[in-house]
Amino acid sequence: MTTAAITPKRESAYRRRGKIGIHIVLLLGSIIMIFPFIWMILTSFKTQGEAIMIPPIIFPANWNLSNYSEVMRTLPFDALYVNTLLLIFWRVLCASVFSSMAGFAFAKLEFPLKKLFFAIILTQLMLPSQVFIIPQYMILSSMNMLNTIFALVFPGLVSAFGTFFLRQFYLSLPNDLMEAAKLDGCNVMQTFIKVMAPLTKTAVMALAVFTALFAYSDMMWPLIVNMNIDKMTLAAGISSLQGQHSTKYPIMMAGSALAMIPMLILYIAFQRQFIEGIALTGTKA
């Protein structure tokens, strides 16, 4: 920077001291962020006696897996994983495909009543999702579809947020592309699929991450529609541990760890995509 060039020595010493201060603050914060997870894992390997010892011990004497086998006997974790995966898969697929289609149409096509239809999208964005819940539940119940994967996916079959978000991206694509595609003999559908949609890959990825995160962490809806433990998601399923093992913290921690690990592995593997996706949903919407 310019000032650094004028007074190099003083500036850099000042900067370096400042940076150490910044690192100290960020490290302290990081410890607060990460400690609960470490404590969860450590507790999950302890016996009940070790967990409630005063003063507390940090490491278990034996790294025993009995809490994990106990919690897997209580909850059908294989079903919970599969259900969560299916929920995320269908929600992401529906949100990406339907929102791309609608986002493209709202950005690049003219048609009667466009403003009215767009108003429907904006209305949904304004309303808190809880105002829809009881009737959504009643619809599913009258279709005899409670306790199914379809019930889990149901409120996320379409996404007003996704439509709005992707529309912003299609708006930023030049109209010349549309014209060129038309001159090459593409109809609207071909223009959309072959020319325009591939250009929104980053945005669709961001929407996928956003949709997946919120589908995974949503608890109220799965608790409402799927009473059957075999049809629950991880988020809702492990909440039932509290009732069954209310004071057995090592077992609850083992359950929490099992619920956390798959998403955490995905997150560590695709950290950049996760974070940049979320950043994109915040800056464009």
Partner: protein, 307 residues
Amino acid sequence: MSAQAINSDLRRKKPFRFQSDWGWAYLLIAPTIIGLIILNLYPFVETIILSTQKSQGLGAAKFVGLQNYEKLFADKQIWQSTWNTLYYMILTVPVGVFLALVLAVLLNSKIRGRDVYRGIYFMPMVVAPAAVAMVWKWIFNAEVGILNQFLGLFGVATINWLSDPNTAIISCAMIGIWSAVGYDLVLILAGLQSISTSYYEASEIDGASAVQRFFHITVPLISPTLFFVVIMRVMTSIKQFDTVYLLIKSTNPAYKKTITLMVMFYREAFEKFNKGYASAIVMWSFVIIMVITAIQFWSEKKLVHYE
């Protein structure tokens, strides 16, 4: 054909568009629009209708006018829960957004390991709220929890984090801030990174201090992002359900002074099966959200700087 007349009229204004293909456009928006009508528009209207009905369990609903609302406004617990919800918002939004802003500014200062820090702060977002709630319940445990044990080293007396009526909601708010700070940080950091460095270079030549730069360059230029983050946080805090529902059971002495409107809504609708009353509760929280949103958009004009 009149449609063709309209077509050619449109074509003159916007020559590059596919005006003659309304059919395609309708096909493309059909799933979303039909979905929104079935999943959102109809349910919204239905909720309003339900809030004027009385229906217990599976029995037929009966129109009762505004009785549910009369009951609502006479219910002391509704007012208490309304306050709990707003108090939770007051506790979480300013502190949470401020912390996220400070951390984002620190992370934006070209330090080493930025991606690692960012990754760590964002971590609670990828963990199911139920798991988060359980681990914090364990940490907050009054007798053997690690937090009281740790504070005990400094002579702090036992705190009933989750069962004292005065602290339970604060404990829930702490969990809320801890969970969301990384998410907000990511959004704010993205905003900070889009500020052109030329502003800072120019002000440095003019001799502006770091604090002056923060308030005169960073804050105005980041204000649209901050506004977005605040709106999103206000919305999610008014809809707070998971943490309070999981940590504060109805036998908890802090129950009345902690439960939020959404917890009341859930219990009325899906534990007591009072659909009518539950709908009135959710309409009441809808009104609160609308009022707060209106205040925010009014203040946006005064506080937010758009380039």
